[in-house]
């Protein structure tokens, strides 16, 4: 690999590669949106990006700063109301992939974006659910992109906002949830996938330059490694160039006052 890259770039590129061309993807704002748009601009030009504010088939020219940026509406195939997006398109079973972020994650890929500490008297009040609970339950599969640390990868969540595999094993199926749950968690250190039986997250691919001790030290539970653990291929020059161009375009647009006047 000739070009230097950051661990954040590795994370975004690895996450983007997970999105197959043609997939209908319900996209969260922030890291998921960056990865989904990188996928659309590289190997997945026919991916259909759906945002909870209503745009279906959005092809933003720069990354949206908010979930309802005008650029998403202008570049979409259609824009529907918020009730319609959740009722007809998500609950209706038309989403292949839900792409989410997380504040806290446990070993069964359950997500907390609500509070740190007790609910009634939180030490940190996080933004809350947004669309994530129903995305994580209704999308056919879920991808989660999150930076890995002991603060984010915890033994026990303070609050279960959005479900992964609940208590593991067949708990998710037993609860009657429609979608298949998280297919992968992509971090700045590695890629984790659920064990087929226990559904506990195991490291299946380690990014270049990262060793197992670093992953163990940044995980709040006793993390396991799959027998067939691989090395994540480094970002290619076209992947990096596309990502950096996208971010540079975004900085130009969002770094200026919003007014046209």
């Amino acid at each position: 690999m000739s070009e230097a890259y950051t661990s954040d770039e590795m994370m975004t590129v690895a996450a983007a590669r997970m999105l197959r061309n043609g997939a209908v993807c319900f996209v969260g704002i922030g890291l998921p949106s960056t990865a989904a748009n990188l996928a659309r601009l590289t190997h997945a030009p026919d991916a259909v990006l759906v945002y909870e504010s209503g745009p279906i088939g959005a092809k933003p020219t720069v990354l949206p700063l908010s979930i309802g940026d005008g650029n998403l509406a202008e570049t979409a195939d259609t824009v529907v109301s918020t009730p319609e997006i959740f009722r007809y398109w998500l609950q209706g079973g038309r989403i292949d992939v839900g792409f989410l972020g997380a504040a806290q994650l446990d070993k069964f890929a359950n997500i907390n974006t609500t509070v740190v500490g007790p609910y009634g008297r939180p030490t940190v009040r996080l933004p809350g659910a947004g669309g994530a609970p129903e995305i994580s339950s209704s999308a056919k599969e879920v991808l989660i992109i999150v930076k890995q640390s002991k603060r984010t990868f915890v033994e026990k969540l303070d609050f279960v906002t959005s479900v992964g595999f609940l208590t593991g094993g067949n708990a998710r199926e037993a609860a009657g949830l429609c979608g298949n749950g998280p297919a992968a968690v992509i971090t700045d250190l590695c890629i984790l996938r659920p064990d087929p039986d226990s559904r506990e997250l195991k490291v299946t691919s380690i990014h270049w330059g990262v060793n197992r001790e670093t992953i163990v030290a940044n995980t709040g539970w006793r993390i396991g490694f799959a027998d067939s653990c691989e090395k994540t291929p480094s970002p290619t020059a076209p992947e990096l160039d596309t990502l950096r161009d996208l971010k540079a375009r975004t900085a130009v647009v969002h770094g200026t006052p919003g007014d046209r006047e």
């Binding site: 704002i29 504010s53 908010s66 824009v79 918020t82 959740f86 947004g130 609970p133 009657g176 919003g258």
Partner: protein, 288 residues
């Protein structure tokens, strides 16, 4: 029947202390001018409902207007936390804030139920999550046909809904386009509805199926150009991302927020004067 009036008249006539109030707009068309007027008129003890509290409710909470907040995502989009909301939840400042927390899908469904005059919403949601533990309003219902257990949550029904739209004609028929959020449902689930618009026009010239609220479901309509800023109005002006970032600094500490509230809201006569103040070079210098 829609009545044209000034925003100050509309808020004074139709919003009262203790009301349940929904000011909607999903990132787009957020009725900031109306929010400012609620603060200026010193309304208290409001039960606020909004999917994304955004800066508009952060301001109302910090100004002491709210007793309760029902919401589904409480962050500053693209920036981080809502500090006034967090200070109220974490430290009871300026007063305790009761919260009723739901998901986007739930609240969207609950607005639909309210608009349809049904008592509750039904959805596939919350299974396995901790929400029902902290919000006793989230319950379940068994489908009489299939036996499937579904989430049941109370409909949104409000005293007043406030939205911002692009245009209204002389009769008060309202047209909006772009990202529509739940504004139509918010108006139809409210006893009274106030709509601020970018401009008053002779005719809407809208195609069939355009999102139009007929004048007879609107109580008051007010012409307030740029009334959604610092959010945006599709076709009129873009989102003021600089202000959204600056809000993080304005709102972080109580003292600076209180100074902002005093200078920008309480000491300005109306939204026009507020906008003029934003163009003041001294204020601009602080924002950059």
């Amino acid at each position: 029947m829609a009545e044209w009036m000034t925003l100050a008249e509309a808020i004074a006539a139709h919003v009262h202390d203790g009301d349940t109030l929904a000011m909607e707009g999903f990132t787009h068309l957020i009725p900031f001018a109306a929010g400012h007027e609620v603060m200026r008129q010193g309304l208290r003890n409001l039960s606020l409902i909004r999917m994304t509290p955004d800066l508009i409710y952060d301001q109302l909470i910090g100004a002491g207007c709210a007793a309760k907040l029902t919401f589904s995502w409480g962050g500053n989009p693209g920036v981080g936390s809502l500090h006034r909301f967090r200070d109220a939840v974490e430290n009871d400042w300026p007063s305790p804030l009761a919260i009723e927390e739901r998901s986007h899908s739930d609240l969207a469904n609950a607005y639909v139920a309210g608009a349809a005059n049904l008592p509750f919403a039904v959805l596939r949601g919350y299974t396995g999550s901790d929400f029902p533990r902290v919000n006793r309003q989230i319950r379940s219902i068994t489908c009489p046909f299939t036996g499937e257990v579904l989430a049941a949550t109370p409909a949104v029904r409000t005293d007043v809904a406030v939205i911002h739209a692009q245009k209204a004609d002389w009769k008060g028929n309202v047209l909006l386009w772009g990202i529509l959020g739940v504004q139509k449902e918010a108006v139809l689930s409210a006893k009274r509805a106030i709509v601020t618009v970018e401009e008053r026009v002779e005719s809407l010239n809208a195609p069939p199926n355009a999102c139009i609220l007929p004048h007879w479901v609107v109580t008051a309509v007010c012409e307030v150009p740029r009334g959604a800023t610092p959010s945006y109005a599709h076709g009129y002006y873009e989102r003021d991302n600089v202000f959204y970032r600056e809000w993080d600094r304005i709102s972080r500490e109580r003292e600076r927020f209180s100074a902002w509230l005093d200078q920008h809201i309480l000491k300005t006569r109306d939204f026009e004067e507020y906008l003029a103040l934003q163009r003041d070079p001294l204020v601009q210098a602080v924002y950059q």
